[in-house]
């Protein structure tokens, strides 16, 4: 279908500091005992997109991700890994690999997207409108701790309400305005000429930019070439394209006109003009066309279209960009959105509790996941939690609303609530953790109590 797929896998994200590290870059962060990147790649594979470019920040991370992909997806996907320097942003990452991009359109997917929205739908919307960029929007997920409310309001208070302000045309097809939540301080500027052209704009704050974009390659490359300062696709490139959609003279200059909308396609031959005129007249005009036609009837101002694909509210769509989101996704993937994992692949070792050894009177509640080879002592309680592979959990341990990664040792009598415990952590006896994040390899001494802290081993 003439699409190339670029997965921006990221590297070591700062938002997830104690969780990710040099050894576990963000793409490999286990979510319900599967690396995060798995979800995106699986989703793409389901859509028959088997030829991918995965961009990873940092060489070491690229090596790790590469070896994981080659181990997991061998024979199933054709993946190429590109390592880009850290801190060049998403736009920089695309810039770095732009000479590998050849197809007419590009699908850019963030590696931290956990979603069941078919990418084909975004691509089809893009194609149908012949758009320059199509962004997938999804409804803002209900974030926050699970119903039990054990983790309290503290996390919520810490996390600012990040809403994207998105303006749509009445048909909900075109993107008229976008301002990402992080940038909005108190006010946001709307562009009058767009509003004038459309006549009516719908401002939504219940939608979220899901970071799945379809770009027209030529335009994307040109924007990236011209605007050296652009760092991020989401914060720079997309708003720029949206804002300039009615006066894109600066843009597209170097592009042959054939790339543009149909009405200017072949200005050389008279007949061709008539052909395109017929096509032009008998397609439903968007506001672009109406505003691009001068009063005397000649199409003079060049426009491009920025489209939006709004995922249906029933579909699951979430980005893992904070610790809270990490918790939420873990909860959802083991719970209500478990179809994301079902009928996935050969290794079914993460069905709830087939292989682990459980002690007597140990209960594992619903929505839990126990990895293979984990052992639990007597009288343990596990509720709504994910426990990784080869963990050793002593007796009288209570794990609620938590994520325990691989090779964790938990001593007797520990109580863990709403926490994330990374790989190779050792919790000695009678540790009480509430809303904590424990970085990889950390050792929590016996009897200590922590609440709402994040602990990590000091970098050597």
């Amino acid at each position: 279908m003439d699409f190339q797929v670029v997965v921006l896998a990221g590297g070591t994200s700062k938002n997830l500091t104690p969780l990710v590290s040099k050894e576990v870059p963000k793409p490999l962060l286990p979510v319900a005992n599967r690396p995060l990147l798995y979800y995106v790649l699986h989703q793409l594979e389901q859509s028959n997109l088997k030829d991918l470019i995965v961009v990873v920040e940092g060489e070491d991370a690229a090596l790790l991700v590469g070896s994981w992909i080659s181990g997991t997806f061998v024979d199933r996907l054709h993946v190429e890994i590109a390592a880009v320097p850290e801190d060049i942003g998403t736009a920089g990452a695309i810039r770095a690999i732009s000479h590998h991009l050849t197809t007419k359109d590009i699908l850019v997917v963030s590696g931290d997207l956990v979603s069941d929205v078919p990418p084909g739908a975004v691509a089809a919307t893009h194609r149908r409108h012949d758009a320059v960029v199509t962004a997938m929007l999804c409804s803002v997920p209900v974030s926050g701790p699970s119903e039990s409310g054990s983790s309290g309001g503290k996390d919520k208070a810490k996390k600012p309400g990040r809403y994207d302000i998105i303006g749509l045309d009445p048909g909900k097809q075109f993107l008229l305005h976008i301002a990402t939540g992080a940038e909005i301080e108190k006010d946001t500027r709307l562009q009058k000429h767009i509003l004038h052209a459309v006549g009516q704009m719908e401002i939504r704050s219940d939608l979220m930019d899901a970071y799945m974009y379809a770009f027209k390659r030529s335009v994307l490359q040109e924007v990236l070439d011209q605007k050296d300062t652009f760092q991020s696709l989401k914060h720079d490139v997309l708003p720029y394209l949206v804002q300039s959609q009615l006066k894109s003279e600066a843009l597209l200059n170097g592009i042959p006109q054939a790339e543009e909308n149909g009405n200017e396609k072949f200005s050389s031959q008279n007949n061709q003009v008539l052909v395109s005129q017929i096509l032009f007249n008998s397609s439903i005009p968007s506001f672009h066309k109406i505003s691009s036609v001068d009063p005397d009837g000649s199409a003079s101002i060049r426009t491009h279209k920025c489209c939006a694909y709004i995922a249906s509210s029933s579909s699951y769509c979430m980005r893992l960009n904070s610790i809270q989101a990490f918790m939420d996704i873990n909860r959802d993937v083991t719970g209500e959105a478990d179809y994301l994992l079902s009928n996935t692949s050969s290794d079914h070792n993460n069905v709830i509790g087939p292989s682990p050894k459980l002690g007597t009177k140990t209960t594992v509640g619903p929505h839990c996941m126990l990895g293979e080879g984990s052992e639990m002592g007597d009288k343990c309680q596990v509720k709504r939690s994910v426990i990784g592979r080869h963990c050793r959990i002593g007796s009288h341990v209570k794990v609620v609303n938590s994520v325990v990664m691989n090779h964790v040792t938990i001593g007797d009598g520990c109580i863990i609530q709403g926490s994330v415990i990374c790989s190779n952590v050792q919790l000695q006896e009678r540790v009480v953790l509430k809303d904590c994040q424990v970085g990889a390899g950390f050792v929590v001494t016996a009897g200590s109590e922590y609440k709402g802290e994040s602990m990590a081993r000091k970098e050597k």
Binding site: D2, I69, E80, A82, R128, N281
Partner: protein, 638 residues
């Protein structure tokens, strides 16, 4: 209403009697048609009669000769299939697995192969802005890339799955079509027998068991196997009305009827083959049961979801299909041009698979594209003619031509068709029609016809003083777009809806109408409402000029607008755009007693048409069959 009106009351009863209603002989003349609903009666009395049977066709009004390109194509494929019989049996079909041709697919990319971590030294230094790509995962086991870019992963292999995948390949699918029904049946028999024999021997049962299994088989032989074929494939490329008669010669003289959507078993079968998931609308108007009507709103998202999964579909075709489905492109000429241009793109990117000939394979490919487009929206007659043209061009290609030459020839042919049959034809029509416009005229037009628009604009450029009345109708309100363009050019216009046409007709001196098609009995098949406008004009003695390019003519005869029509989205008429307060029908849409009918086309009897302006000149509607007959050859094989 008007003194002028009194003169005629001749033609419409005539049409009713002769045409659509073929009353049973006992109450032939006395009975007005309404007592005897001829659609219901045959379907009640003899429910699932094979609607191919000729005796039935005289009775049922829904039997119409379909557009010929269907039968043409079928015929041709059938003919082609007869000569080489054997090679198409699945047993001799082999899976072609090119060994490692990954590089072919990514020409511009530097691909470093590596499955082992040792190749990661290829990851370049981070300071270099241009980064290298390292292939970390290759689909390397059995990677077959057929020419259209379809990847066959045979990793879950086993011989059976290989065969299924082989069936799924688009290229092989049309081949399968070519085997006749009898042959397939024979093949199935043989396979079944073999299977049963094997099973029987394994279970060490007696021979009688084999016999019994063989005996029961013919009853259900076809059904499971067809299910197996149809169910396994995502993109079925079958033809919609593509039923093959057991005897080929019968098919030759009697064209098969088009798909009747009140025949549930056929609809079920067609649904299995369909690419676009279509849910039938529930409350359909009784008289129009035979036409396809689907729940709108579910098709587009569903098709969008499958964007990457329909491999054999060319992107250009896919885009056009989406645009048809969403209504982004409408109008006979525009749809035809868009389709032809998409075909051109597809032909440009086409390359003949190994061991196939371009003529046959491309024809089959085009057929699969066409069936996809039909699922998006039923074809217009003009598109059918264009497809027929293209297929005949493909069939006429000299065998000696190389592939690139053949492709160039075809692309030039398509361009020529667009230029000559549409663009130049429009110009000629404009030249002719302008002579009929004089100063002081009040011209009425209905809807938005591209030809009429060109006429009006050209007449305006010539400096003629005239006024335009644009008559429009719900739900599409296409006239507003036309009005917008006319007003911008400085024409003086009046805009009204079709309800007021009898009022406005007083002042009108000429009526210009566009047409989707003109049939060989002179019937003008056009946007719904055209007939109404033409009849009113006729009653007021206003000449009705129909502007229609000759490529839209069709040799079919149609007497009413029921047997062949298109049903639009019923929601479109139950809701008034832009006025949410008009919601009287809310919640009633699924009510059993309410049936919404949104017709797209209607048929205007030739009595109401004064003149047809076509690229061969201005002719009376009775001359249309002459043009069809005399110029058909030129249309298709020039």
């Amino acid at each position: 209403m008007d003194p002028r009106r009194t003169a005629r009351t001749v033609s419409d009863p005539k049409v009713r009697q002769v045409g659509f209603f073929t009353p049973p002989p006992d109450h032939a003349i006395s009975d007005p048609p309404r007592h005897h609903d001829p659609i219901q009666s045959p379907s009640q009395s003899s429910p699932p009669v094979n609607d191919r049977s000729p005796s039935d066709s005289s009775l049922s009004p829904v039997m119409i000769p379909p557009p010929r390109h269907h039968s043409d194509a079928l015929l041709r494929t059938a003919l082609q299939a007869t000569s080489p019989t054997k090679p198409f049996s699945p047993s001799t079909r082999t899976v072609m697995i090119p060994p490692e041709n990954k590089d072919l697919r990514s020409p511009g990319r530097k691909v470093v192969y590596g499955k082992s971590p040792s190749s990661f030294s290829g990851v370049k230094a981070s300071s270099v802005p241009a980064s290298e790509l390292t292939t970390v995962s290759v689909v390397n086991l059995a990677l077959g890339i057929s020419v259209e870019g379809k990847i066959l992963t045979a990793e879950e292999a086993g011989g059976a799955s290989v065969e299924v995948q082989n069936d799924r390949r688009a290229s092989s699918k049309p081949l399968k079509e070519k085997t006749s029904k009898a042959e397939r049946r024979a093949l199935q028999e043989a396979q079944r027998a073999a299977k049963a024999a094997a099973k029987g021997s394994k279970a060490s049962s007696s021979a009688s068991k084999v016999v019994t299994s063989e005996n029961t088989k013919p009853i259900k032989a076809t059904k499971p196997s067809s299910q197996k074929n149809d169910g396994s494939q995502v993109a079925a490329s079958d033809k919609k009305g593509g039923d093959r008669a057991p005897e080929k010669d019968r098919k030759k003289d009697a064209p098969h009827p088009r798909m009747q959507y009140d025949d549930t078993s056929r609809v079920e079968k067609a649904k299995k083959r369909a690419v676009v998931k279509q849910t039938e609308a529930r409350n359909r108007v009784e008289l129009f049961r035979h036409l396809p009507q689907y729940e709108h709103g579910t098709q587009l998202p569903d098709l969008e979801t499958k964007f990457f999964e329909l491999d054999p579909m060319h992107p250009a075709l896919y885009k056009v299909g989406l645009q048809y489905l969403s209504g982004d492109i409408y109008g006979g000429n525009a749809r035809c041009i868009a389709m032809l241009q998409a075909f051109k793109e597809a032909i440009k990117d086409y390359s003949t698979p190994p061991e196939k000939t371009l003529i046959r394979d491309l024809t089959a490919r085009i057929s699969s594209y066409v069936s996809f487009l039909i699922e998006c929206r039923p074809l217009s007659i003009s598109m059918g003619n264009a497809i027929k043209f293209l297929k005949s061009r493909i069939a006429k290609l000299p065998l000696a031509l190389s592939e690139s030459e053949a492709k160039t020839t075809l692309m030039l042919d398509i361009d020529r068709f667009i230029n000559e049959k549409i663009i130049l034809a429009d110009k000629v029509i404009v030249e002719h029609a302008v002579t009929k416009i004089s100063d002081g005229d009040v011209l009425l037009t209905y809807g938005a016809s591209s030809a009429v628009e060109m006429i009006l604009l050209h007449a305006h450029e010539l400096g003629k003083e005239f006024r335009v009345v644009v008559v429009d109708s719900h739900p599409k309100l296409e006239g507003q777009l036309l009005l917008r363009r006319l007003v911008r050019k400085g024409l003086s216009c009046t805009y009204t809806h079709v309800n007021a046409v009898s009022y406005i007709m007083h002042e009108v001196t000429r009526v210009f109408l566009g047409a989707s098609s003109v049939l060989s009995n002179g019937t003008v098949y056009s946007r719904v409402g055209t007939a109404c406008v033409a009849m009113v004009a006729h009653a007021f003695r206003v000449p009705v000029l129909v502007c229609c390019e000759a490529y839209k003519f069709h040799e079919r005869v149609q007497l009413d607008s029921i047997c062949s029509n298109e049903l639009g989205n019923p929601d479109a008429i139950s809701k008034v755009h832009g006025r949410e307060e008009i919601n009287y029908l809310d919640g009633l849409v699924n009510c059993e007693n309410l049936q919404l009918l949104n017709l797209i086309y209607d048929a205007t009897p030739s009595d109401y048409v004064s003149m047809v302006i076509t690229d061969y000149g201005m002719v009376p509607p009775t001359s249309v069959p002459v043009i069809v007959r005399e110029y058909r050859r030129e249309h298709l094989w020039s």
